[in-house]
């Protein structure tokens, strides 16, 4: 941690020109893959993420089947070339953990009781990583689920709030993250403001934590609008296509 680096200048601007509570530029597109039942492509800052959904379909392996509801199996994967040093293909401990908490967050909103014994499989591929990929992946995944027509109580926007050189900063990029003192990724159900994903590591006072939560929840609502917008564009495209076909 190099304290000479100034994370926020005297005009309140960060290294990339953002204010403390400003998201990186974000772009979401739904329905980008032909084989998957639903899919989404998302860019936020320099992150590039694909999410695809297959299901509800037969649950493999069988012993995971639940007779009363569907299970949600998310696989989060960083592609080899997505990071500075090449990552070996295949799951590592970090991706196993992230897959687990994203699965749990999505299960919180999917109406799993409608599909006993089934599996809803969510694949998140990180094409390019620049801090915040788990949140980007979850944000994309819930759009892909909606694109697949999976019944859900709500979408799940997600973002991280960080702390760097003493400042609480929304949605750290990689450069900021390298000097970060804390990171708090979270995801909410916007309709109720309930928290379905929450992690923290680093050092925050009790007060900072409270503030960071507020910043995160607020930003999730901004992301929620972009999610809905992506779906709106997707449905209108589909509608257009149908009109053309008719």
């Amino acid at each position: 941690m190099d304290s000479d680096i100034v994370m926020v200048d005297d005009k309140g601007k960060r290294l990339d020109g953002r204010t403390a509570d400003e998201l990186r530029p974000m772009k979401i597109e739904a329905g980008v893959l032909s084989n998957a039942d639903g899919s989404a492509y998302l860019e936020i800052g320099k992150n590039k993420v694909l999410a695809a959904v297959y299901g509800p379909r037969e649950c493999h392996p069988r012993h995971l089947q639940n007779p009363t509801r569907a299970i949600v199996q998310c696989k989060y994967n960083m592609q080899s070339y997505s990071v500075g040093d090449r990552k070996r293909p295949g799951p590592d401990r970090r991706s196993v953990e992230i897959s687990k908490i994203i699965s749990e967050a999505l299960e919180a909103v999917i109406q799993v009781e409608l599909f006993p014994r089934a599996s809803i499989d969510v694949y998140i591929e990180i094409l390019q990583a620049n801090a915040g990929t788990r949140c980007a992946g979850l944000t994309a995944a819930s759009v892909a689920l909606a694109d697949a027509g999976i019944p859900m109580r709500d979408l799940v926007p997600s973002v991280a709030v960080g702390k760097a050189n003493g400042h609480l900063l929304l949605d750290l990029n990689k450069e900021e993250d390298n000097y970060g003192e804390a990171d708090l990724p979270l995801a909410i159900v916007p309709k109720t403001n309930e928290v379905v994903l929450l992690q923290m590591d680093g050092h925050m006072t009790r007060e900072e934590f409270g503030t960071a939560m507020e910043m995160g929840v607020k930003a999730c609502h901004e992301i929620y609008e972009m999610q809905k917008d992506a779906l709106r564009r997707r449905y209108s495209t589909e509608a257009d296509e149908q009109e053309v076909e008719e």
Binding site: R93, V96, L197, L198
Partner: protein, 257 residues
């Protein structure tokens, strides 16, 4: 942890009791089970502890060796944490490499230690860029009756606090206590219907909808958190849990001195 199901009757019994603010084992929502901590239980380890939270029992052991530092932290020792959910501990646990549950447990415990700066890893550097102390923390669940997060975290903290760096064995001067800066304590609350309880048993975990694990330091600052399971918390609940966890941190910190 996936095979067991709690019978409908038992589940309802837990619900009904909790609506009255009571629990199966007689505790109130914010009561911990009896906690016992023994250190120095493994002679072959540089530090070790056996911790019991009621019937939940874990052993943590620290082994140290000399290795090369990571290129980007040339003057820091290295910590790695593993958790083994051995089949001895519970009928649902199976042999084999760590699965998702064990990996999450290890990583959450690891973050609590790492992010609090409990171990002064700079003092574990022998020759910058060349030789540092490697700390292998291994945690074994011996008997599992809920709340492995807190038991495992406490066992690791106790093992580290009592550890001696075996310098003389490696011709690196005299042995010295592992340099420890603070005592991070991890406390978990589970949500059952609308009640939040600390230190859940296995049955309570089974019927709970969500879990929040919070590691706090001696100043009451937050060092690590992990939400688990597919239920949700309100923001108010999150804030409440953080406050309870800080209190429980103080309570447990007294036990291990």
């Amino acid at each position: 942890m996936s095979r067991s199901v709690v019978s409908e009757i038992r589940r309802n019994h837990i619900y009904e009791l909790l609506r009255k603010g009571r629990r199966m084992d007689g505790r109130e929502p914010l009561d911990l089970r009896e906690i016992s901590v023994e250190t120095g239980v493994i002679d072959t380890a540089e530090g070790s502890a056996r911790v019991r939270y009621g019937e939940t029992e874990v052993i943590a052991g620290l082994k140290m060796a000399i290795g090369t530092p990571f290129p980007d932290t040339p003057n820091k020792g290295v910590l790695t944490t593993s958790m083994e959910l051995i089949p001895m501990a519970h009928p649902d646990f199976e042999s084999g490499p760590p699965g998702g549950d064990a990996i999450e447990l290890a990583r959450v415990v690891d973050r609590g230690i790492r992010e609090s700066g409990m171990v002064d890893v700079e003092k574990l550097c022998i020759t910058p860029g060349e030789e540092v102390w490697m700390c292998f923390i291994d945690i074994y669940s011996i008997n599992y009756d809920g709340n492995l997060f807190d038991a495992a975290a406490l066992a690791v903290v106790a093992a580290l606090k009592s550890a001696i760096v075996p310098a003389s064995n490696h011709d690196k001067g005299e042995d010295f206590p592992l340099p420890v800066t603070c005592v991070p304590i991890t406390a978990t609350m589970a949500k059952i219907e609308n009640t939040l309880i600390v230190d859940p048993t296995f049955d309570e975990e089974m019927v709970s909808s969500a879990r929040l694990t919070v590691t706090s330091d001696g100043n009451g600052d937050v060092r690590a958190m992990q939400k688990g399971k597919s239920g949700a918390f309100t923001v108010e609940e999150v804030n409440y849990i953080v406050d309870v966890a800080r209190e429980k941190g103080d309570e447990i910190r007294k036990i291990i001195g």
